[in-house]
């Protein structure tokens, strides 16, 4: 068969003179059957949305990191050998004892043309890299893109976040300046706090006591070889899975779990992604060219005695640093059988990040279990339709924000002339109160938005047109939604808490596994106890059956009452009745007050249409 195809190719070739590209493609295909791949991928459809670009920003800033990092390795000397700086600039450095690493950093900044530019591009790219990973993960989390079949890719992504943090930290330490040296010393302090093996881990990292003369070369190998190598492998896996599973899509007309609606890879995405890469590289270059970052010669070479006030780590370490600052010390260093367990360090620096990453890693499985969900999902959730998930994300964000603020408490104190003790105490309280409050508010906002969706579907947009009847009655005309608008607000399903088999079976024998089932049911109730059903055609019909709007609209000349703001009509504030699951009849979320039949709450204008 291959022979036949080859022959046919020759026939075609005889008819039209083959182009050079055509010949090269033929050469390659006869040896690799690459045609199959091209056929599969060239016109592959990808959905479009601005939020899908966040992961792209991460990928492209990683490429910029590789390119600028290669430049830096040409001039950086990863050695802790002690040298005396010789060079006129910067003058304060001349004659100082420093490591070769620091000397080469200053040298590449001041003597190598474009060296400073590349250093600054590299540092800014690192900050943007991790920032875009975090935003991308928020997008994936909020839209439920981690659900089946993408759980594995979520774990791959989470692993890459951890590697990116490691890459950031190892790179930050390489110049061997006072700032990064003190950062390493904090790491040493945290590592020593780990029970049983902490002291030995410290020796393992530094090759001797802190700081020793080994750590910079070791971090260098990790930073330029091990971590980027793993990242490249995982990026390949991440993208492979994305292509294999096809990208998820936001809900909309014609979009389902069985299709993908969008634009073809060739030419649209090839052009857009290439363009996007150049734009991101351009913006990062602009930042590197115009915004100074990490002027290490101002800090000086590492010396264990000095430290400067008002120092912060790079933004992605802020939450750990802030947690370290918030933790009260006295009473939290425990001595057990003569061994020291400094919980004042372990809780903020080991346990808190541990809980965070464990929660992120297990979330897809917890949520699937609590939802009783085994289906494939390719249509993304609107965040409002999963109130608890969205609220958890916002709560995590608030916790991060409080910790990041705590990591700047000294700057807040000096800039606003406040007591540092007072700030710390306020933030200690906020760390617990803030996320809880954010959770509660976000969940309520999500439920309210869902009710708003129902109201829109059932009663239409407020048109601002007021119509007066011959009887003197005023009515505001509502414009019905078009089918696309309706579909966006009704395409989802609202999950219910799990139903489990009773504790006793028919013969009154206790059922094994009931307690475990009940635990999962409790989690499920936490997720889905408060719920709002999407509107249905039946409800829409009911909402219209007693109103006279439709008839009026046909009769009323356009323009009557235009621009007049009429009284707000009272839509149904409660959800469709008939929830059968446990807890689904919680007051305020789903009750009998459905279709405006006398549904006038306090403070609401009576709805004229309901009298019909």
């Amino acid at each position: 068969m291959a022979r036949a195809a080859y022959q046919r190719g020759d026939d075609v070739a005889m008819k039209q003179r083959p182009s050079a590209v055509g010949k090269a493609a033929d050469y390659l295909d006869q040896r690799t059957s690459i045609g199959v791949l091209v056929k599969e991928l060239a016109r592959k459809v990808f959905p479009d949305h601005w939020s899908f670009m966040l992961g792209e920003i991460a990928l492209f800033s990683f490429i910029v990191l590789i390119a600028s990092g290669f430049f830096l390795t040409m001039f950086f000397d990863p050695s802790m050998a002690l040298v005396r700086y010789e060079g006129e600039y910067p003058p304060a450095m001349n004659g100082q004892l420093m490591s070769a690493a620091f000397q080469s950093t200053v040298h590449m900044s001041f003597e190598v043309r474009g060296g400073m530019l590349m250093r600054q591009i590299h540092h800014w790219s690192a900050l943007i890299f991790i920032g875009s990973i975090v935003l991308h993960m928020f997008r994936v989390f909020l839209t439920g893109a981690f659900r089946k079949p993408r759980e594995i890719n979520w774990i791959v992504g989470l692993t890459m976040l951890i590697l990116a943090l490691a890459a950031g930290f190892t790179g930050y330490s390489l110049p061997d300046d006072v700032l990064s040296g003190n950062g390493l010393r904090i790491i040493d302090g945290v590592v020593k706090a780990i029970p049983l093996i902490g002291s030995y881990l410290s020796f393992l990292i530094f090759g001797s006591e802190f700081p020793g003369d080994q750590v910079i070369p070791r971090l260098f190998t990790l930073h330029i070889f091990v971590i980027p190598g793993l990242l490249i492998a995982l990026i390949a896996l991440h993208l492979f899975l994305m292509v294999l599973q096809k990208h998820g899509q936001y809900p909309g007309g014609g979009r389902s779990d069985k299709n993908v609606v969008g634009y073809p890879a060739l030419p649209v995405y090839v052009a857009k992604m290439t363009g996007n890469f150049f734009i991101i590289a351009g913006v990062l270059t602009l930042m590197g060219g115009t915004m100074a970052i990490n002027n290490v010669w101002n800090y000086g070479p590492y010396d264990p005695a000095p430290v400067s006030a008002g120092t912060q780590p790079d933004w992605y370490i802020l939450f750990v640093d802030g947690a370290l600052r918030l933790m009260p010390g006295p009473g939290f260093e425990w001595v057990l059988w003569g061994y020291t367990l400094p919980m004042n360090i372990l809780i903020p620096a080991v346990i808190v990040p541990g809980i965070l990453f464990t929660l992120l890693g297990t979330w897809p499985f917890l949520e699937a279990r609590a939802t009783g969900d085994h289906r494939e999902h390719h249509v993304l959730d609107r965040p409002r339709n999963r109130p608890v998930r969205t609220a958890v994300a916002v709560a995590l964000f608030v916790a991060f924000l409080v910790c990041a603020l705590a990591a700047t408490n000294d700057l807040i104190a000096t800039h606003f002339a406040l007591s540092i003790f007072a700030i710390t105490w306020v933030l200690r309280v906020l760390l617990f109160v803030g996320p809880l409050f954010a959770f509660f508010v976000t969940k309520r906002v999500c439920l309210a938005l869902q009710r708003k969706d129902r109201e829109l579907v059932l009663h239409g947009h407020e048109s601002g047109r007021i119509v007066r009847f011959a009887t003197g009655e005023y009515v505001e005309v509502h414009t019905p939604l078009d089918p696309q608008e309706v579909w966006l607000r009704t395409q989802h399903t609202s999950p219910r808490p799990l139903e489990i088999k009773p504790a006793m079976d028919a013969r009154g024998v206790k059922r094994k596994g009931y307690r475990s089932d009940r635990r999962w049911q409790r989690l499920s109730e936490f997720f889905y106890e408060d719920r709002v059903e999407p509107a249905t055609p039946a409800e829409l019909a009911a909402a219209h059956s007693h109103g006279e709007h439709d008839a009026i609209e046909a009769r009323t000349p356009a323009g009557v009452g235009q621009g007049t703001s009429g009284p707000r009509t009272a839509g149904p504030r409660s959800t469709r009745p008939g929830g059968t699951g446990p807890g689904s009849s919680r007051p305020g979320t789903s009750g009998p007050r459905a279709d405006g039949e006398g549904a006038t709450g306090p403070g609401e204008e009576p709805r004229p249409g309901s009298k019909g």
Binding site: V45, L97, S109, M116, L117, I121, P149, R185, I186, G189, K192, I194, I197, G198, Y200, S208, E209, G212, Q214, G252, G253, G254, N259, V260, V261, A271, K272, G275, F278, I279, G282, V283, T285, D303, A305, P306, V307, S308, A309, D321, L324, R325, P330, T340, P342, I345, H374, R375, E376, D410, T424, V457, P483, W487, Q491, P495, R496, T536, P537, A538
Partner: protein
Amino acid sequence: MSENQNNPADTSHEVTVTPQAGTDVERFADPGVPEHKHRLTDTDPRAAKRAERTVTFLFVLSILGTIGSIVAYVMVPPDGTTSGVRLSTLLIGLGLAVSLLGIGIAGIHWAKALMGDKEMVQERHPLATNDADRAIAVKDLNDGLQDSGVVGRRGVLKGAFFGALALFPLAIAVPLIGSVGGDWNVSKFKHTMWRTGTRLAIDPSGRPIKAADVTVGSVFHVVPETTDEFRETHEWINEKSKAVVLMVRLNPEDLKADQSPPGETWSHEGIVAYSKICTHVGCPVALYEQQTHHLLCPCHQSTFDIADSANVVFGPANRRLPQLPITVDDEGYLIAQDDFAEPIGPSFWERLK
């Protein structure tokens, strides 16, 4: 809805379609992909031409940016001063940024204005292998396993096989781990280079300090006195990391207490010396406030009261800073009575052992 999401026993992996029939009273119907709206460049040839010219202009701009960047590289070399470096960085950076942004914006504009924008629909297929293929795969695996001849017998062979595989990394790991931590002597954490009679010297000059030169209220950053040669070695940096001391002279009536055990005097006429390494995670504690006699760690704001045994006043540290017992020698220089009585710096597992 035809499917039951809440049935825990439902382990099917098929994609369930949401019903799309328009007659359903429970679900609204999917209206299908929205009608395609043409862009201006699709309908107006002049707009398309304009977009084409814009894209071309942007590519040309990029070329100019590249040239500008190279001109800046050649014409504006950094002269070593901060402002020279800044100018060179700025010009090369701007040129490169224009070069990159030109290509980027041109590409996006090209794609959005001129390339086809008709939405396409492709089917998704269930990711799971179909049952027939899956059966073949399972059979192939079983056949392969049978052919290997190890299923259900040759237990010794299997044990040896897995044993060998599990053990060989040790031959690499043992030498690596043996050497990677140097001498692994973690008891070094408990001692510093302070000895009986070591003079206190100013950091970084290394000049010894006379008690008479320490005025009330002044703060000294102190290191042990040593030779100039030793001060140029890594051993010195390691030792200095543990031995740095902050010394303050207080009015003797302000000094409420220090850490001297009964019968000993660790301070000298109001001069007290405390380890400068924070007992939290090891930052140098360097911010001293004269009015309150508080010593603040700039890293995590642990606050110690120098007038009262360097006890923790606030912050994440749990323990007071260890005191260096000092006195004066015959020539009036401040000297250490001995090493610190307890390990300095952050806590570790074996600290009290």
